[in-house]
Subunit: 191 residues, 2 copies
């Protein structure tokens, strides 16, 4: 059972020839809760597809503070886009918040895939368009919203799995402290 192939097949038709090739380059891995999938000193250029479980990508400052870039569940991609697509050396880690199963694709293999199968390129181009819109929206949120409003937005955007994620990580996604988030939550219970 390969959820990634299923995911592709939802949108593009895949010949058995392509399917075989894909199966060769897709690496399936499973992780336990808390396990690190990609560490911040890695130079690996990989695309990560989540089949099950919940993952988180985050940046860690010199003094140990963590900032969450993204959460991801079933059928989401999560990767270190700065390492993948720019020369900026980033220090992003990806960890598994729950037991998880992921499929990992090496950048080189994906690049080959684009060349050999234009349908993948089109597929990915559309994916990227969606991602750009999402990132843009997040930037606007960060610019315009208060802590409480950002939390609202988060609850809406991640309603599917908000409950799995510890509050201190939600706070690190919103750019606020766990204490602030706690205060906001308290306020809400009152009202």
């Amino acid at each position: 059972m390969n959820e990634l192939l299923d995911y592709f097949k939802q949108t593009i038709s895949i010949s058995s020839e392509i399917e075989n090739k894909l199966s060769e380059v897709i690496k399936e891995k499973t992780f336990v809760k808390g396990e690190i999938i990609l560490s911040d000193n890695s130079i690996k250029k990989e695309h990560i597809f989540v089949a099950s479980g919940c993952l988180r990508s985050f940046y860690k400052t010199e003094n140990g503070k963590e900032y969450t870039i993204q959460f991801a569940i079933n059928n989401w991609w999560i990767s270190d886009y700065m390492t993948l697509y720019s020369d900026a050396k980033s220090s992003i880690s990806i960890e598994s918040l729950t037991p998880s199963k992921v499929f990992i694709l090496d950048k080189n293999n994906v690049d080959k895939l684009y060349k050999e199968h234009p349908a993948f390129e089109a597929f990915q181009r559309k994916n990227f368009e969606k991602r750009i819109a999402i990132l843009q929206k997040r930037i606007l949120s960060l610019l315009t919203l208060s802590a409480s409003e950002k939390y609202d937005q988060f609850l809406k955007d991640y309603s599917d799995f908000e409950k799995i994620i510890p509050n201190y990580q939600i706070a690190s996604y919103l750019g606020i402290t766990p204490q602030s988030l706690s205060r906001i939550r308290k306020e809400r219970i009152r009202n």
Copy 2:
């Protein structure tokens, strides 16, 4: 003289047949300083390429506050990505900060282009990768940096044309008030 064609030709080879087709769908427009290129109630889905001058895209809240999403000069793209690529109705405007010359491509025409000429799709896919890395980087800046540090980053990222942009717009890009920016600048002169 069509700078957009030159821009394409830097990366992909363009037959005279494609060139003709492109010339048909590329609309050249010039704007004076302060002119609005795309207004926030427009539903137009357009890609905008800057040939000369400096443009700015921004979001305006109900109470009139402006938040700058992006600046763009020569050979940059600037568009309302949320309108282009998601159903989220956004209220983004694009204005010309200087006299400018731009090329406008309708979304439909671009989509056709992808279908008919895979090289464009590949080209755009790579563009999008870069853009994703840039947006990711901005999100990290907004999450981790102080006002002063964000200003530093801005001066680095936009060093080419920092001087053209009024400070109150820089402030709106950083997510701070003009007064705060002024304070930061004063500090720097002192030191």
